[in-house]
């Protein structure tokens, strides 16, 4: 997030796109509601009638996978009506002229045709967003999990920069990150192309710095494989061994049957986890780790706030905190790891990571700190891009709408889209929580009543969902939450794993799978 969670309530206009906030980030949704209560105009762009729609001033119900057309359509109106912030564009950005030309074709009428959103609503939304004076965008996986995921995000950035709605209180572009420490895992270099603090592996100076800090002669200089690429490599025999810590790709990756096959083919697989997950079942060695309540450490939340967790209880049996397991392993592999506590590790992190440079455990205790924290006396950075963008001037980039990789056709007439539910999170933890499992114990597929009628499906009946890659059986929930010809399912349940159906098409830049759109057919299961 460019801005803070608390900052959301200060906006005059909130554009929430591709985020079912009340279910996936419930406590951030409280801020959205607070803003609305105080008079902010909420624009929700979502194919489904999610709860926030009931709070919205305007609901744009775009067809899944057409977000880029919609966003460019908004920018078209802003350009055409000259609602953009000329001063901001001149002083802080470059490349606007190119984007101005690029969105010329995205007239409200054309965009209406592609997205299904009425043209007048596109115009209205553009005006409200541009008027602000403080407008903020919130988005999540509904924007990123497409083959145009990166382009979608760029388009949102174009929109915000054009109106000058960034780098200010109440105005920003705010991705709502999924997992509790997905931000931190990225920050710590849990990506194939960057070392901690997003320092590129391709930069020789950076590599030298880390090699010196780690006491090794050199570090690999080419970007590595992404998760999806690793799976493909494994399947093709180019990857022999894997070490998986606290992840369950068998259920969470698209086209799950392929993932399972890929892992099966490895020479050696280590899984370090707290449960014997679907992935751990395939391992050669399973190492029992510790849950968040059983260790010290830090998590970094979606607003870049680094916060402390404390040990409350002992890990069960012989399970150990994951940092201890890794320390032991590194020692065995000849890397001296004299860490006596996570605090020692943080001391090393802050030495090599400029954005974490000023972070010490002592400073995190009360409220945490939002990075960048470049120095020990720096108060942290609640709002990014205040004076300038990371690269200096904000770069407008023209991006264009592309239809999803797989669209419904005669054989597979329904658009299948996936997401999370309030009562579960991913695939493991919540399903081991008794209360959550009691209140929400089985998967359902959301089907529009008109479609259900056409298929002769009753509420609560079992249906079989079939895609080109697999099939699952699941109970039908007949509801107008989904529009016609769209079905929605969560991916929490191994009993009906949505990712057996999803398409392994990737965004070319970020390598994000297109979980939000694929084509399926539905069949009633008799008896």
């Amino acid at each position: 997030m460019t801005n803070s969670i608390a900052d959301i309530a200060k906006a005059d206009c909130l554009l929430v796109i591709g985020s079912n906030t009340t279910e996936n980030h419930p406590v951030i949704a409280l801020k959205v509601k607070e803003a609305v209560r105080r008079g902010a105009k909420l624009i929700v762009a979502d194919p489904r009638h999610i709860e926030l729609v009931d709070w919205a001033y305007l609901w744009l119900r775009q067809k899944p996978g057409t977000d880029l057309a919609l966003i460019n359509g908004l920018l078209h109106v802003i350009v055409k009506e000259e609602l953009y912030d000329k001063e901001f564009i001149a002083q802080r950005t470059e490349g606007f002229e190119e984007v101005k030309l690029a969105v010329e074709d995205y007239t409200p009428e054309k965009v209406a045709e592609v997205t299904g959103v009425p043209a007048e609503d596109i115009v209205k939304a553009a005006r409200i967003y541009a008027a602000g004076p403080r407008s903020s965008i919130l988005y999540a996986m509904g924007i990123t999990q497409h083959i145009t995921g990166t382009a979608n995000v760029i388009a949102l950035a174009n929109l915000a920069m054009a109106c000058g709605h960034i780098g200010k209180e109440g105005s920003g572009v705010n991705p709502l990150r999924g997992q509790n420490n997905v931000q931190g895992a990225c920050d710590m270099g849990g990506l194939p192309n960057v070392l901690p603090g997003y320092q590129p592996v391709t930069d020789a100076g950076v590599r030298r710095k880390f090699a010196r800090a780690w006491g090794v002669p050199e570090l690999p200089k080419d970007a590595g494989l992404t998760l999806m690429e690793m799976m493909r490599a494994a399947e093709e025999g180019r990857l022999k061994g894997m070490y998986i810590m606290g992840e369950n790709p068998v259920l969470t990756d698209p086209d799950a049957s392929h993932v399972e096959k890929a892992l099966q083919g490895l020479d050696f697989l280590v899984v370090q986890d707290i449960f014997l997950t679907e992935t751990a079942r395939l391992a050669d060695v399973v190492l029992p780790g510790a849950s968040f309540a059983e260790k010290e450490g830090t998590f970094t939340n979606t607003e870049r706030r680094v916060q402390l967790v404390h040990k409350a209880v002992e890990p069960p049996g012989e399970a150990r905190p994951d940092w201890q397991i890794l320390r032991e392993l590194m020692e065995r592999l000849g890397c001296p790891s004299p860490y006596s506590s996570p605090e020692d590790i943080m001391a090393e992190i802050s030495r090599v990571t400029p954005s974490y440079a000023g972070i010490t455990y002592g400073r995190l205790e009360e409220k945490g700190l939002q990075w960048p924290v470049p120095a020990a006396d720096h108060p942290g950075t609640p709002i990014l891009h205040r004076e300038k963008f990371t690269r200096g001037r904000g770069l407008f980039q023209a991006v264009h709408y592309l239809p999803p990789a797989e669209e419904p056709d005669e054989e597979y007439p329904f658009l299948f889209t996936t997401g999370r539910l309030l009562y579960h999170y991913h695939t493991v933890l919540s399903r081991k929580a008794r209360g959550l499992e009691e209140i929400c114990s089985e998967p359902v597929v959301e089907i529009n009543p008109q479609d259900a009628e056409g298929l002769g499906i009753q509420d609560g009946q079992t249906v079989e969902i079939v895609s080109r890659r697999g099939k699952v059986r699941v109970k039908a929930w007949i509801t107008t939450r989904v529009p016609r010809k769209v079905v929605f399912m969560s991916f929490h349940f191994w009993e009906a794993a949505a990712n057996l159906l999803t398409v392994p098409a990737l965004d070319p830049v970020a390598k994000i799978p297109e979980y939000k759109v694929c084509a399926v057919k539905l069949e009633k299961v008799t008896a």
Partner: protein, 354 residues
């Protein structure tokens, strides 16, 4: 700024400040029950009555704004009598089961009665006894103990924006309740439990914590929620090596103490019988799920040996490492250090995109 006098001491506060807030600046304690710093004050309980010179009637400190030159007395004998009277009235319709109440030790009514020196009610109000409701896995509702402070209703409406709760009934029968009498779920409750967090008495309590420890026995440990990326601040309540309940911690920058159903009630996976407790080594075919338990020495030696051997025979880039969006920064740092610095590959990723 507005200047006023409270108990003989002058204080200048911004316009719009309430008498209660002004008094707290002077460290003058006025008892309250329905007041909650994060909720709109509505003056229900009347415990914060204070006397204002020149006015015939007392006013509630929690929702009366200060006025220039106001002279306030927070503790005259008359005011103290009234406060006692109000507490006696509350006790007259409250079950006297503090001995076994889950809330004992953490109960605002108990504290107020104790501090005011109230021994018990002179009268018992004739009220019907209500069934204790356990219609959901998370929250026990005993409205016999409800003191109608309205906090749960306000938090549901003003914070959660859900409006599943309201005050129902008239007169002495008035209690908090659900907008649909059928139950919480039917009323549209999403089980955030924020009502439970603000309940000052034992009317709303955690089902998971029932009988698992008294307030004074529980160790409180600050933590961060392990579900989504919001990073809500938590307090874990621990007894005998087990987390027995969770409350939100009031970090105003993040969640201000509010939580969702997963953060508040989804913690018991920590103590799931399915947790892995020993290193496991595969026996038989891959994927058959057959493992034998091993010692840490054996398992770690095996992992180190295999990793080294694969690297030596095929080079580092046939190895892949997946970090975890659930593990700590320190652990992710170590894993990528292991991959890059020790094994020599950049094949490091995690599920950021999923």
């Amino acid at each position: 700024m507005v200047t006023l006098t409270i108990d003989g001491r002058q204080v200048a506060v911004p316009e719009g400040t309430t008498i209660l807030e002004a008094a707290r600046r002077l460290d003058i304690r006025i008892p309250t029950l329905c007041y909650h710093p994060l909720l709109r004050p509505l003056g229900y309980c009347r415990l914060c009555l204070v006397a204002v010179e020149g006015a015939g009637k007392p006013v509630t400190a929690c929702n009366t704004p200060v006025a220039e030159g106001m002279v306030v007395h927070t503790s005259t004998p008359e005011i103290e009598e009234w406060r006692k009277g109000i507490i006696e009235m509350l006790l007259s319709q409250h079950p006297a089961d503090c001995l076994t109440c889950e809330k004992a030790g953490d109960c605002d009514l108990q504290d107020c009665a104790y501090q005011a020196g109230v021994k018990g009610p002179a009268w018992k109000a004739e009220v019907a006894s209500l069934p204790v409701l356990r219609d959901n896995p998370f929250i026990v509702r005993d409205y016999n103990k409800c003191i109608v402070c309205g906090r749960c209703v306000r938090v549901c409406l003003e914070v959660q924006g859900n409006a599943a709760l309201e005050l129902v009934g008239r007169g002495i029968e008035t209690k908090a309740g659900t907008v649909d009498p059928a139950g919480l779920k039917e009323a549209g409750c999403v089980f955030c439990g924020n009502c439970l967090q603000v309940c000052p008495v034992g009317a709303l309590t955690e089902r998971a914590g029932e009988g698992r420890g008294r307030e004074w026995e529980l160790k409180k440990v600050r933590s961060i929620c392990s579900y989504c990326g919001v990073g809500c601040n938590l307090t874990l309540y621990v007894k005998d090596g087990k987390v027995v309940k969770v409350k939100g911690y009031e970090n105003p920058e993040v969640n201000n103490g509010w939580l969702c159903v997963k953060g508040r009630f989804g913690f018991d996976y920590i103590h799931s019988p399915d947790r892995l407790t020993k290193p496991l080594i595969r026996e038989g075919a891959r994927g058959s799920g057959n493992f034998r338990e091993a010692t840490w020495e054996e398992a770690l030696d095996l992992v180190a040996r295999e990793l080294r051997e694969i690297k030596e025979s095929h080079g580092p880039d046939v190895l892949g490492f997946l970090c975890s969006a659930k593990c700590t920064n320190e652990e992710n740092y170590l894993l990528q250090k292991l991959a890059r610095g020790v094994m020599g590959t950049n094949n490091v990723d995690h599920c950021a995109r999923l």
